[in-house]
């Protein structure tokens, strides 16, 4: 049905364009046109497209809903959850195509019959209505064509609306993210009190195999996850902070253009390595090495230590810190440097006493963005950090993070209503909220910093 509808739509749109253009060309013989003929063609084409597309976008889901709900009521399915509904619908579909395994029940066959006949009616109605809409749109837009008619302005207004709609997709994405985590988080908090969630020191989300199973509640205290995330992020920042900052200082203040041209690609390549690759490296090379060295000096190192994940995450963030700091340092006006040099300061003195203080706010925001990146990073910790929610600050032990838990809970079989599944969304909410706050603050600082020197 969709294919027929869309083909019909395309045909009508093309016809609209051709007729509109031809009419405008004819009008041009009589008098001067305001808009060029193709714009008249486009105007008519849009006149066909808009109502037909709108009908399609609204009509298809509504039609499906009507068909499904009617056939389900023919099946006499009582109050049932989404899972049961889906199963019955699948059965109905397989009865229709004749692939149903086993003997279909009377109710099922009745439902299938309803489904088929209703689908016929709905599809027919949609096609007819679509044609009617398209022809109506055609007639109306075709009639308004005239030599002084401003077809171009109308087409351009439409294009402008489309462009604006594209720009709002980003906003809709944010709203979508917020909605998807917020609703599930609220449902989670109906089961687990927010205070237990925020201040509990035990994290062991239990899977309930059956809903009535004993002990399916589990413990949902995020403190161990916070400390775990914090521990790994701290290690990462201890590595990426100094290295990234010093690299940026060297590149901005000391490096010759040739050296810069050589080093920049290194940083770009490092930044371009997918985190799953770094995770592989962390889990299969760094972690065993650290464990080996630890044992050589008599330390007991977990095979999935926070240290390994932290080190590799630090490597991942170095290019991020250095390029952001590089920008910030370059934004410090040359006049400040000149002033310092004129007083006989060496370069390092200038950097330490003049440039870094001047760029301080910018560097802080660069670090904040880097922290937000580290907190939200998933693959390295999934592959190299553990699952055990240990409440510890020992970098040699295994810890777990927000992202690891979200991934662990949501990958594989899940039961959508359980507190365990919902808890992943609550974790996602905290993660989103935290990184967003960090970013908003950091971007504000950067903005103010730039305005200061612009």
């Amino acid at each position: 049905m969709s294919t027929i509808y869309l083909v019909g739509l395309v045909v009508l749109v093309v016809i609209g364009f051709v007729f509109g253009r031809a009419r405008a060309a004819a009008l041009a013989q009589a008098g001067t046109l305001h808009s060029r003929p193709p714009y008249h063609g486009l105007f008519v084409a849009l006149g066909v497209l808009v109502p037909m597309a709108a009908l399609f976008v609204i009509g298809v889901p509504v039609g499906r809903w009507i068909v499904e709900s009617q056939s389900l009521s023919a099946y006499d399915l009582g109050p049932a959850d989404a899972l049961k509904r889906d199963a019955v619908l699948r059965d109905i579909q397989s009865v229709i195509v004749g692939s149903y395994a086993g003997e279909a029940t009377e109710a099922l066959r009745r439902a299938a019959a309803t489904y088929v006949s209703l689908r016929w009616i709905v599809n027919g109605a949609l096609l007819t209505l679509g044609c009617a809409f398209g022809l109506l749109g055609f007639a109306l837009s075709y009639r308004s064509l005239a030599a002084p008619f401003r077809a171009r302005n109308h087409v351009e207004r439409f294009v402008r609306i489309v462009l604006f709609a594209s720009a709002t997709v980003a906003v809709l994405t944010t709203v979508g993210i917020l909605m998807s985590v917020l609703f599930e988080t609220i449902r989670f908090f109906e089961r687990v009190p927010p205070l237990d969630f925020l201040f509990g020191t035990q994290w062991s989300p239990q899977t309930a195999i059956r809903a009535d199973q004993v002990g399916s509640s589990g413990a949902f205290g995020i403190v161990p996850l916070v400390t775990g995330t914090l521990l790994i992020t701290t290690i990462a920042m201890l590595i990426a902070g100094p290295i990234g900052l010093f690299a940026a200082i060297y590149l901005a203040e000391y490096a010759t253009p040739r050296f810069r041209a050589f080093v920049k690609p290194i940083l770009e390549i490092l930044a371009g390595i997918p985190t799953v690759v770094l995770g592989f490296f962390a889990a299969l090379t760094v972690a065993p090495s650290i464990r080996g060295w630890g044992q050589a000096i008599g330390l007991d190192v977990a095979s999935e230590s926070a240290l390994a994940a932290g080190i590799v995450m630090g490597m991942m963030i170095i290019p991020f810190v250095s390029s952001l700091s590089d920008d910030v340092i370059n934004a410090v006006p040359q006049s400040l440097r000149d002033g310092s040099y004129a007083m006989g300061a060496t370069r390092s003195e200038t950097v330490r006493k003049v440039i870094l203080p001047a760029a301080f706010a910018g560097i802080v925001s660069a670090f904040m963005l880097a922290i937000s990146r580290a907190v939200g990073e998933t693959m390295i910790v999934v592959m190299a950090a553990g699952l055990a929610a240990n409440l510890t600050f020992n970098p040699l032990e295994a810890v777990t993070t927000f992202t690891v838990q979200i991934k662990t809970i949501l990958v594989g079989d899940q039961e959508f209503e359980s507190a365990k599944t919902l808890s992943a969304f609550a974790l996602g909410f905290v993660l989103f909220f935290f990184t967003l706050t960090l970013n908003v603050i950091a971007l504000q600082i950067v903005k103010r910093y730039r305005e200061q020197y612009d």
Binding site: S166, Y250, I266, I273, P319, R347, G376, M383, K407, L410
Partner: protein
């Protein structure tokens, strides 16, 4: 350093006195140190990069070659096409594996015991007969004849040839050796003390092992002491709580005590176990005896004599008892130098291939039946549970389909949004909200986009799980900010004079933008798009959320089929315990990095090629 010192010396002439001179020198030293920190930071970054890349290359390159046997297989009609139909469908269903298996058994006729035969069969991959099947299906006239075909071997056998087996040490016998039989359990006696070096070596390994065990036991004891101290503490606090009759504290202390008690128990048993083993070994070592029983935790010693091979079980100075792995041709005495003592240095327990397998594989290699070739299968096969059969075709196709969806969605949306914001947006609250929002969206963790995909695309809209279309949608939203930002920069870089010129001849604002500004911004937009696509190609976390982690053998053919993508395949393989998959993982990473380098290279080329100075 000398340069700096000289420069400092040259400059000190300006200084007024020696104190000032010293100060200047100290300042230059500080300057030098500071500079070195910067260089060190850059060097460390470079070293990190080199280590990561070489590590991946070292692990992954072997996976691009695959060893196989070149066997002469008798295509027996009874197994393939007993009715002589020559119907490809019938032939395809034939038991080709049995043919290949019997061809291999034909090389080692002495293997008759079931358990041993099963080990021999296990040298073959479960896909060993694929090449034979394809050949016979395409050329049915081969039925009834014999054909030489490549036969895929198991991952363990493959890894053995790739050097993950054992070092083999060979040494000629100095005395004349006489075996007591040709098959089964036999003894070999030499006229010289040929085996004494091995005996010494074995004793040495025993003493090292005993030392290690003692050290381990000591470590357990140490941990045990800490645990005991903790137990004491907890018990006293428990007692205190009991006295105070504080139920909550009692419960807390008890629950804390329980794991401690468990730890104590495990540690005690582990420590004493290690101590016992050490004592046992020490006793063996102390025994004044020129006999030693070999275990699989020690290097394997074998004797090659009279065309056969004997695995040593009892080792003496001049005499060994052992089991025949390859039958001897006769019981006759072997002259000095005509027989060899062979040592597989890696203990059998630490190897994937046992002594028998090593022996067979070495024999096959001697016979010239082992060949290495480029592993085409890696690119032509879907996923598999067997490392030697697994390929990345499914993942590559999945990635391509996903990226196609991503590109089709985010390029028009991104460019549209960029044009709107850069050219048409009036500065107001709405525009500001959109701009701030785009900047923040660029920094939202990717896994959160996965949550969005799960909640909205799968659960709300009801799109199919694991499908490239959902992956593409999620990735499109993920890279949208990148593309918008890049496209805006590209549009902004087009000088306003071009737009003015167009407006000046009476083009409308949109005509000026679409006819002049946008075409000039296209290289910049493409560069940004390629970089965004590269980012999408490497992205993993959000795709895990929408179920692209399923084990899927079939290569997806449409955007609604279940599939996976390359980075997720890497993640999945990296999680598997088989050592064969480690190389596959690294090889898949090399392919992924190869694509990324090509894409980024294309972006850099575009940037250079179309860079325009106005």
């Amino acid at each position: 350093m000398t340069d700096v010192a000289l420069a400092a010396a040259a400059r000190t002439r300006v200084a007024r006195d020696t104190a000032a001179e010293a100060r200047v020198r100290a300042r230059y030293r500080a300057e030098w140190r500071f500079r070195m920190y910067g260089l060190l930071a850059i060097a460390l970054t470079g070293v990190f990069l080199v280590i990561v890349l070489t590590d991946v290359l070292r692990k992954g390159l072997p996976a691009f070659t695959q060893y196989h046997l070149n066997l002469e297989v008798n295509v027996d009609p009874a197994e393939i096409d007993p009715q002589n139909t020559r119907d490809p469908g019938v032939i395809r269903a034939g038991d080709f594996h049995a043919l290949v298996r019997s061809a291999l058994r034909g090389i080692f006729p002495e293997v008759s015991e079931r358990a041993v035969r099963r080990r021999l069969d296990a040298l073959l991959s479960s896909g060993a007969s694929d090449a034979l099947r394809d050949r016979v299906v395409s050329d049915p006239s081969l039925i009834g004849t014999s054909a030489r075909v490549p036969v895929l071997i198991s991952a363990d056998a493959d890894l053995y040839f790739k050097g993950l087996g054992t070092n083999i040490d060979r040494r000629d016998g100095r005395g004349a050796a006489t075996p007591t039989g040709t098959i089964g359990e036999i003894s070999i006696t030499s006229t010289a003390n040929d085996f004494s070096p091995d005996l010494t070596y074995i004793k040495l390994t025993i003493s090292i092992r005993a030392r290690d065990l003692r050290a381990e036991a000591e470590r357990f004891r140490r941990s045990l002491r800490t645990v005991e101290a903790r137990r004491g503490e907890l018990e006293s606090s428990l007692a205190a709580a009991r006295n105070a009759n504080d139920a909550a504290r009692i419960a807390a202390a008890e629950s804390a005590l329980k794991p401690v008690l468990g730890d104590q128990e495990t540690l005690t048993s582990r420590a004493s176990e290690a101590e016992n083993r050490a004592a046992e070994l020490q006793a063996r070592l102390d025994r004044v005896d020129s006999q030693e029983t070999l275990e699989d935790t020690q290097p394997s010693v074998l004797v090659a004599i009279n065309g056969g091979l004997v695995k040593v079980k009892q080792l003496g100075n001049a005499r060994i008892d052992g089991e025949v792995l390859l039958p001897l041709s006769s019981e006759s005495e072997a002259a000095p130098g005509a027989w060899q003592i062979i040592t597989y240095i890696t203990p059998e327990a630490n190897r994937r291939a046992g002594d028998r397998e090593v022996t067979w594989l070495e024999r096959l290699k001697q016979m010239g039946l082992v060949e290495a070739g480029f592993n085409w299968r890696f690119f032509s096969a879907g996923d598999s549970r067997e490392p030697e059969l697994a390929g990345i075709r499914g993942a590559l196709t999945g990635s391509a389909l996903t990226l196609l969806v991503t590109l089709l969605i985010c390029l028009p949306l991104g460019v549209g949004a960029a044009i709107y914001l850069e050219e048409f947006a009036i500065k107001n609250r709405v525009t500001e909200v959109i701009e701030v929002n785009i900047n923040n969206l660029a920094a939202v963790p990717s896994i959160v986009f996965g949550l969005l995909g799960l909640a909205v695309f799968l659960n709300f809209i009801g799109l199919p799980r694991s499908a490239p279309i959902v992956g593409g949608l999620v990735l499109a939203l993920l890279v949208l900010p990148t593309i918008i930002i890049a496209a805006r920069a590209a549009l902004k870089a087009v000088p306003p004079s071009i737009k003015e010129a167009a407006l000046g001849v009476g083009a409308s604002h949109q005509q000026a933008v679409f006819h002049h500004v946008l075409p000039l911004a296209i290289p910049g937009i493409l560069t940004g798009t390629i970089i965004g696509m590269a980012h999408a190609l490497g992205e993993t976390a959000p795709l895990l959320m929408i179920g692209m982690v399923a084990f899927i053998v079939e290569v997806p053919t449409s955007v609604t089929d279940a599939g996976t993508v390359l980075p997720v395949q890497i993640y999945l393989w990296s999680d598997l315990p088989e050592i064969g998959f480690q190389a596959k993982t690294a090889a898949a990473i090399i392919v992924l990095l190869g694509f990324l380098f090509v894409m980024n290279g294309a972006a850099i080329y575009l940037r250079r090629r179309f860079e325009r100075r106005w």
